[in-house]
Amino acid sequence: MIGNLPFVVCMILVALGLWTLVAKRNLIKLVIGVGLIQNGVNLFLVALGYVRGGIPPIYTLAPAGAPMVLPTPQALTLTSIVIGVATTALMLAFAVVIYRHKGTLDARKVRELRG
């Protein structure tokens, strides 16, 4: 388990975000929980591409003779970060409009889809 410590830490981050989603009621805290899950998954994606003793996959002034890290998980993490920004912006816009209309930020008091 000590060898896989980066993977375990990323999954602990995801579990903490999941606990925030389950146990908290404030809308802003729910947005923070989703952000924690996104950060944990992005770190896990980058950690998947590591080669032991590797250097960054860039040839400009690179030290010779060392293996290079895999570049594809870094490219996918870039896309994932931008999608996280888009999701967070939309969630915060909804929270602002809900507060303007209802006057409260409690997730149990703003249920209206019934009847």
Partner: protein, 88 residues
């Protein structure tokens, strides 16, 4: 009652995540890396770029970047639609 059900579901999910992270392959030894070795070796002859990550993002996987640009545009349009001043 519903509180305890939420806590039990969270414990099951967290147990799955941690067990999966421990039972994964060892950290630092990738298993099937033929595509990435091709990207690392041929990003200078084919794409003429020193940066293999930029070559992957814009040349070998350009469709994903097109989709990401569309998502960013849709998000900014959605925010502009939600946060407008109605009336007057």
């Amino acid at each position: 009652m519903r509180g305890w059900l939420g806590v039990a579901a969270f414990l099951v999910a967290a147990g799955f995540l941690l067990f999966g992270a421990v039972a994964l392959r060892p950290f630092g030894e990738p298993v099937w890396a033929e595509m990435d070795e091709h990207f690392n070796r041929f990003s200078q002859p084919e794409v003429a770029a020193n940066n293999a990550v930029t070559a992957v993002v814009f040349d070998y996987r350009g469709f994903d970047t097109l989709g990401e640009a569309t998502v960013l545009f849709a998000a900014v349009t959605g925010v502009a639609l939600i946060l407008r001043k109605v009336g007057k």
